[in-house]
Amino acid sequence: AEVTLRFGHYFATEDFRGRTAQYLADRIQTLSKTIKVEVFPAESLVKGREGLQATAQGTVDMYSIYAGYITGQAKLLNIFTLPFPPASYDDAAQAKFASDPEVREVIDRSLGRFGVRMLGVINSSGDVGMFMRDPIESVADLNGRKIRGAGGLSDEALRAMGASIVFMSAAEQFLALQTGTVDGIATTWSSYVNNNLATVAPVHVDANLVRSPYLLIMNGRKWQALDAEQQKAVEQAVAETITWSTENFKAEQDKLYAEIKKLAKVSQDLSAEDRARIDELMKPIYQGYVDAHGEDGAKLMELWKRYAGVS
């Protein structure tokens, strides 16, 4: 039967991740002549924060949701907000980790309880950098600074380093950095470049605070209502989109990184001592994740370490 899928996401249409969403929609419509996909970019139908509940209840059929937004609803997903992952945990590694059958099984189970089906991970936040108004000597300097955080466990990491987390809307961040309401911000490269934040936060602390995937989720009833052929088409399209996104995302990130190097006045690498200090501070947070989630938590952590390349 003819079906219309309403697909919401968070990004601007011209953003790479917005283009990925459109790519998926196009693929689904090509592979199945009986499915029509209506894309609603830039939170125009449902807000990102409400994405899971809205999908669960059928306010929207599909959503590409930032994992960090739903860690209060599916706490196991905090595996995707582990702070300061090693450099070897790049987007490709994350994509592989997220599509490991064992990981998929845990995610499916925790989202399935809500009547939501996870179709796959089609996008990543990329690196989340820290951008400051003033240069810092070392990570010890973050002590006492006010930072707009990125959510999830990464907030706890910044607090462990002595920083204070300030909550504010995206619309207020530019002014807050300009006037000094906050000292810095943790945000994605694309947001830093697209929102022109370099003029107000010219110092780039070159460490990845967190990397989170965007999960493509679908209302369970809607999924059941598709016939076998349609379901196959959707799954096929998701697989193709993941391949397309993985192939192109690296180039996209490299472009953004070059842009940041150009825009930011200071780009500070972490020293070896800094890195060691951070790893020491993160231990209890990682351990806390395992302790909070028992068997599943331990399993996910072990897999994560393998894919992330942690010894």
């Binding site: 959510g151 607090r159 987390i165």
Partner: protein, 171 residues
Amino acid sequence: MKVILAGADRLARAAFALSAVLVMCLAVFVFYEVVARYVVGRPTIWVNEVSGYLLVATTFLAGGWVLRQGGHVRMEMLEEMTGPRGRAALALFGNLIAGAVGAAMTWTGAWMAYDSWDFGWESPTMLATPLWLPQAAIPVGAAVLTLSALAGALDAVTRLTGSAAAPEVRS
């Protein structure tokens, strides 16, 4: 009938009073955040989030009494052109629409809050608020709104059918 009407109004009024208190809390909390961040240098983890929840509560809890007081802005052109019976008919219509919206919001809002409670959903912040708590303000407030709309509709019916002596309540 009168007892029920009076009861609905008392309830709506109490909800409104609570809402007013929450508005003042909102001002105090947000100001406190400014002080905590700028003067003390230690921003809170709760003001930003709790303020959003308070806004939901204050809006929905006040809705019923504001409706009874005729405080929701509307286009009055037709009211000014027509007589008392016409105004009563318009009031009946307006209250029925408001009542339908209130009932639908009570129903869907209750499901939303129930789901959040059932699934144990929390906000993805350090505060980790159980979401059903602030969300419950929507069905509770919407239920009060529905009762107020019914009371308003009954008032209007009395004015339409009954004696000319029945006073116009809507301001």
